[in-house]
Amino acid sequence: MSLKILTEHCSTPGIETLEVYRKKGGYTAVEKALKKMTPDEVVEEVKKSGVRGRGGAGFPMGMKWSFLAKPEGVPRYLVCNADESEPGTFKDHYLMKTIPHLLVEGMIISSYALGANKSFIYVRGELMYVIRILEKAIEEAKAAGFLGKNILGSGYDLELVVQPGGGAYICGEETALLESLEGKRGNPRNKPPFPAVKGLYQSPTVVNNVESIATVSWIVNNGGEAYAAVGVGKSTGTKLISASGHINKPGVYEIELGLSCDEFLNSDEYCGGVRTGHRLKAVVAGGSSVPIVPGSLFLKNANGEDRLMSYESLSDGGFATGTMLGSGGFIVFDETACIVRNTWNFSRFYEHESCGQCSPCREGTGWMQKVLNRIEHGKGSMSDIDLLVDVSKKIEGNTICPLGDAAAWPVASAIRHFRDEFEWHIKHPLEATKPGAVYAGAVLV
């Protein structure tokens, strides 16, 4: 069994209560941080840990924290991003509903480190039942003196607020999230200014993912170096991977970064292999926004070396042959999956979720969706394939926020690796549109 930093106690009955959580060592990190460490010392440990943001972009958390502006007399805010809406991603949902105090404890220590006296957890509105679980945990923590005024006699005050979203993927983008938290539409802001300087209510703000913040207690208890000793290279620590699609054991798994991709997919400790009786066709390793790759390129890189579940190894080969760890939304496709249909499904998602502020994204996502719809339904022409590539290139890099790129990459990568399948749909519309029809020419593992 590998090290479980976040999920060790997840199957303990009653772990959602403060009582059981404390019996398992919960809240000792708050005591240690507030009584024995200065805020800067906490930041220093997080820096040493090398932990990278778990929301998708993988930016070093300690570095982000040290960028926070600290003008005199201006409040600072910590906002936890629990919007989790990237298709394939359901790890934060699992963590919050199972062990809510892990997030609450992480929020207390992180807020202390950043000097925030009011912090927010922004949860996608659909997860109202999880919001109620978190609110209960917060009440328990308050009653036990871990929140409120003068926490544990340290002189530090903190109020923790859980805020519901309203159903909008774009509010996971950090500046859209801040707009939403101010009671507005979720339109991403132009950067600069960055949230570290002007964020919530125009004040310096740090936005971090649920899983990122949940690591902080362990780092404080065990030290940043101990965290950095886990994992591989610049991919330190553990990562939650939410696995779905055609595998025997869908679910949320905590892995040590650097685990081999083959072991993650095929061992019984994790996914338990591709659905029994089927063969691996393709993998989306880190949420719908990252490039889709054929199964063979997921297991081994272009040089034939085993791929590892780490930021570097998964992206090895760049866009030509690699993918990304992203949010850890791991989606597996066997030979029964139609890549064209899936690509159309994802592009419909991005068209639906585009906030509409920039024309390349607003028009481009709509256009890609229409063209893909046409191909999927037997009405495509050969020039449509290049048209899709062209539109995806015009979106990429030309928008206010990264949703544009996120919409372009799945389309571009599907065509890069599965062009034959698109062509088959166009050349054989009658065959391709039969219910359940799939292209038989794909290379399977």
Binding site: P75, E84, S85, E86, P87, G88, T89, F90, D92, H93, K118, R124, G125, E126, L127, M128, Y129, R132, E159, V161, Q163, P164, G165, G166, G167, A168, Y169, S180, L181, E182, G183, K184, R185, G186, Y201, S242, A243, S244, G245, H246, P250, G251, V252, S288, G329, I331, F333, A337, R341, N342, N345, F346, F349, H352, E353
Partner: protein, 164 residues
């Protein structure tokens, strides 16, 4: 369903609104908009103009500030809905788990298509995007409850239970 003509929160919800406003810094009561819209939908089922105007008055903001927000976020119903609103996930991972087949069955079972409400006003069927339950799909949500690992038989049982 007709326009609500007596739009007032219950005393409990009115107290809750004050509690919510107090969470934010002075003068930032607009931050309460999403939580208060959720409270409003809980009580009034959908966002009629009257409901939105009421929310605006509670938060001392302009009605248009409420309209533009309520129409941006997909969880708020801008039209009357049935007693149970089924929000069915249509996104890729759930599709891989058999989501499209189960959705066809659900439409047949209810005798309606997506976006419609049954004649008895019991069910409205909506398609939504990924609900962050991809490995537990196919799934749908009714109010706060998630229904996961769906198959045709489970769908029948849920609908029959809710039809009682």
């Amino acid at each position: 369903m007709t326009e609500n003509n007596n739009i007032v929160f219950t005393p409990e919800r009115l107290a809750k609104v004050q509690e919510i406003i107090a969470r934010y810094p002075e003068g930032r009561q607009k931050s309460a908009l999403l939580p208060v819209l959720h409270l409003a939908q809980e009580q009034f089922a959908w966002m009629s103009q009257g409901v939105m105007d009421y929310v605006a008055s509670l938060l001392s903001i302009k009605p248009v500030e409420v309209y533009e927000v309520a129409s941006f976020y997909t969880m708020f119903h801008l039209e009357p809905v049935g007693k149970h609103v089924i929000e069915y996930c249509r996104t890729g991972p759930c599709v891989l788990m058999g989501g499209e087949e189960v959705f066809s069955h659900l439409q047949q079972k209810l005798g309606i298509k997506k976006g419609e409400t049954t004649a008895d006003g019991l069910f409205t069927l909506k398609e939504v995007e990924c609900l962050a339950a991809c490995g537990w799909g196919p799934c749908f949500q009714i109010r706060e409850k998630y229904y996961m690992h769906l198959n045709n038989q489970k769908v029948d049982e849920i609908i029959e239970e809710l039809s009682k």
